[in-house]
């Protein structure tokens, strides 16, 4: 899981992290850290031994599965910064974990399901000790008394197990019924409870139609499906959360004494002073008090060009400081920052999404009334033709038991977990099974431009090789994006040693005895022309300045991806916050006819809503904060792992890695998963067409019910698993 984490580690060790220390029992205190890159036994030993040896630390424990390192020490004896530095010295990425969040992510639901699954497995296995003798020829040898004894013993095991293991279903069914709806769990609960009641009454009457084993093995099979579904969501959620934890949990608060202390972003209050170092994101909306820097706003507005800022300017949360250190006075708390409006829009989008009815539930809405009507008719029919109430009731219950909803409860999660496992290996995190189902239904793909279709960073497009070589030493000495793009082209080499950077202007150094400058036009004294491209000037003392132009280049496989999507009958369009000229050029290069530029976050969300109103189902692929609302609103959404936090939270799927073609792959996989799920529904319908009449005429004995149920479950599960094998074929 850790190799998909591509976020850059920030340098936390240098700042005071006391805001992350939480008290523990017995006079100890400690921090929780997220460690990146630890995968093997040797890593575990290195980290635990190394951190354990840090001065003052009494205990260090790394959870290799989740990557969480818990360190504690007697109160006041150790500095968290030392611990972080130690982990980083050992060669691992490391970030402090907000303890409030770590508390909240305890997986209670998973534990409940795992325990229920364990109990159901115990019940399903052991009830057979008594069910099998009762079914087989032994029953003649046992006689009626022996058979009834066997049934009582089955009941002793099955009834408590079924009642315990069924709790997740009962709770969900009850919640659904109270809202006046019937989900999948209603027929399951009814079938289990009715089976138990009828089996008890049958055993009391010393009859042969007791189905204790069926009740508990039904729950066992369904719980497997439920558990897989839960694991899928948890895994994706955990991976997404780890990405976020590495990005910006820490803000540097400047105290009255001028010292910087790292605190969780949410603890920043209005009026606090916050330091933002080059390479960090601005944590809250604020006013610049001191310092100057170029700001990369690409995640906030989608604009590619860095914007210069200085004291007195208002800046928005999410902007990336590129060149200089800023001290910002907070104007809003993190929750109320620029993000607030976006967050509200996201919430509205998420609400419309929660109204989506999953495939299994849609099938259930047909299945439930059909099966229950059939059971009722069976009862009424037998009663009318003169059977006694007991026989009529038994036949009706046999219908309920034998028309097993396993294809819905087990096969769909099994398909989805194999599908998302396949995507996970290609670097795509699927947040939920419902996300895959929605992705399979899209007919339109909407791309954001910056950072999705393009690489989101400028690349040198026109310059002379000789000029590049002359500018390279200066470019290597600077952290500015344009300098880095230039240095990339120049390749490795020496950096100008005495270079000094003037924030927001450029770099200057003496090379071969001449004062050489690289930066803005005004910095090198050149006459500036307004251009759409970003530009950088090289000025050597006594020579005419040279211009380098940059453009945000397309991802290498963008054109291919757009073509592949069109070939699948999908409509492709671009919604961007950037200027029209830049968007037009990209749209033309990719052969996208429909594009809109200069879109606001609300505008993007409205455009998606308009599409939805026209009956289209859109997949939104975006990475900026300005896309978050649209991502939440769209029928399905994807965001790259480099996206803003909010966008990653809003998106259904997050893809890591450079390739855009995974979008095509995700759509294909989602469609294949849907096909497979529908196949399973078809099979289960076929099975029910055979099984239900048999139950109605009274051909179903407890043995046949048990065989038919597990047989059909096995078939749909195997068909689901073909998804994993099928992945190797093109």
């Amino acid at each position: 899981m850790t190799e998909v984490l591509a976020a850059p580690g920030l340098d936390f060790a240098g700042s005071d992290l006391s805001g992350f220390v939480r008290p523990r029992a017995d006079g100890e205190e400690g921090v929780e850290l997220l460690v990146r890159g630890a995968r093997c036994a040797a890593c575990l030993r290195k980290i635990e031994t190394g951190v354990g040896a840090v001065k003052g630390v009494s205990h260090a424990r790394l959870n290799l599965t989740t990557g969480r390192l818990s360190v504690s020490w007697p109160r006041g004896r150790a500095a968290p910064g030392d611990v972080v530095r130690k982990v980083e010295d050992l060669g691992y990425g490391c970030a402090p974990f907000d303890p409030a969040e770590s508390k909240a992510e305890e997986d209670k639901e998973g534990k409940r399901l795992a325990l229920a699954l364990g109990v159901a497995a115990f019940g399903a296995g052991n009830v057979m000790m008594f069910s099998v003798p009762a079914w087989t020829g032994l029953s003649q040898e046992l006689g009626i008394g022996g058979r009834t004894l066997m049934y009582w013993l089955s009941a002793l095991i099955a009834a408590p197990c079924a009642l315990y293991a069924g709790r997740p279903f009962f709770a969900s069914a009850w919640a659904s019924l109270r809202r006046g709806k019937a989900n999948m769990d209603v027929p399951i609960s009814v079938a289990v409870l009715l089976t138990l009641i009828v089996s008890f009454s049958e055993t009391l009457r010393r009859g042969q139609h007791a189905y204790f084993d069926a009740a508990v093995s039904l729950l066992f099979l369904l719980l497997i499906g439920r558990y897989l579904d839960h694991k899928l969501r948890l895994k994706a959620k955990g991976a997404a959360r780890d990405l976020l934890a590495l990005q910006a949990p820490v803000a540097l608060r400047v105290g009255p004494d001028g010292a910087e202390r790292g605190v969780p972003v949410r603890e920043i209050a209005v009026g606090d002073l916050v330091a933002v170092r080059p390479g960090e994101r601005v944590p809250v909306d604020g006013v610049v008090e001191a310092g100057a820097s170029d700001l990369d706003l690409s995640l906030v507005t989608g604009e590619t060009l860095p914007e210069r800022t200085a004291a007195g300017a208002r800046i928005a949360a999410g902007a990336l400081a590129l060149t200089g250190r800023l001290v910002v006075r907070a104007l809003a708390r993190a929750e109320d920052s620029t993000l607030a409006e976006i967050a509200r829009l996201m919430e509205a989008g998420a609400q419309s999404k929660s109204r989506y009815v999953r495939l299994a539930d849609r099938a259930a809405s047909i299945y439930v009334p059909t099966v229950h009507t059939l059971a009722a008719l069976t009862f009424a029919g037998w009663w009318i033709v003169g059977a006694d109430v007991r026989t009529a009731l038994l036949r009706a219950v046999a219908v309920l038991i034998v028309t097993c909803p396993c294809a819905l409860g087990l096969a769909v999660p099994a398909v989805q977990i194999t599908a998302s496992g396949r995507l996970f290996r290609r670097g795509v995190l699927v947040k939920s099974g419902a996300a895959l189902e929605r992705l399979a239904e899209i007919d339109t793909v909407i791309f954001d431009k910056t950072g999705v279709l393009t690489e989101g960073r400028p690349r040198l497009i026109s310059a002379d090789a000789r000029d590049i070589a002359r500018a390279a030493p200066l470019a290597r000495a600077s952290r500015h994006v344009l300098s880095r793009a230039l240095a990339d082209v120049a390749g490795p080499g020496p950096a100008a040693l005495d270079a000094h950077e003037v924030a927001g202007e450029g770099v200057e150094a003496i090379i071969d005895g001449k004062r050489t400058r690289l930066g803005r036009a005004s910095f090198v004294g050149a006459a500036t022309k307004t251009a759409t491209e970003t530009e950088l000037w090289l000025g050597v003392e006594g020579e005419a300045p040279v211009r380098f132009t940059f453009a945000d280049s397309l991802r290498p496989d963008a054109a291919e991806t757009v073509a592949a999507l069109k070939a699948r009958g999908l409509k492709v369009s671009i919604l961007s916050g950037d200027i029209a000229l830049a968007v037009e050029r990209v749209a033309e290069a990719l052969g996208v006819a429909e594009w809109r530029a200069g879109m606001t976050p609300a505008g993007k969300a409205e455009a998606i809503a308009a599409l939805a109103a026209a009956g289209h189902r859109a997949l939104m692929v975006g990475d900026g904060l300005n896309d978050a609302a649209a991502l939440a609103k769209a029928h399905a959404s994807m965001a790259p792992g480099s996206a803003a936090d909010a966008s990653q939270i809003a998106a259904d799927l997050v893809f890591t890695g450079e390739a855009l073609s995974v979008v095509v792959e995700a759509v294909d996989t989602a469609r294949a998963a849907r096909r497979r799920a529908l196949q399973n529904f078809a099979f289960s319908a076929l099975y029910n067409v055979v099984a239900a009449p048999a139950a109605i005429v009274g051909l179903v004995t407890p043995l046949i019910a048990a065989l038919a149920m597990s047989g059909s479950s096995l078939v749909v599960t195997l068909n689901a698993l073909r998804m994993a094998w099928g992945g190797r074929r093109p």
Binding site: R24, E28, A41, L44, L64, T66, S70, G118, M129, L156
Partner: protein, 65 residues
């Protein structure tokens, strides 16, 4: 037939023992870190006990290094 009266309770008890063992391993958090536990047995000095139930409430177990 009488043997059933003995074997049935014995087999139920055995099975309950298994269920109880599962319950105990679950409650003592032995499934929290399957990867880490597989690695821990390779080194003598690492703490092999499952993690404390609640990091905030309980004293973490300490082993001689």
């Amino acid at each position: 037939m009488n043997i059933i009266a003995l074997l049935a309770p014995v087999s139920i008890l055995l099975a309950l023992g298994g269920l109880g063992a599962f319950w105990w391993t679950f409650k003592s958090r032995q499934y929290d870190d399957p990867q880490g536990d597989a690695a821990r047995i390779l080194y003598d000095h690492l703490d092999e006990a499952p993690p404390a139930r609640d990091a905030d409430a309980l004293q973490p177990k300490r082993r001689p290094r």
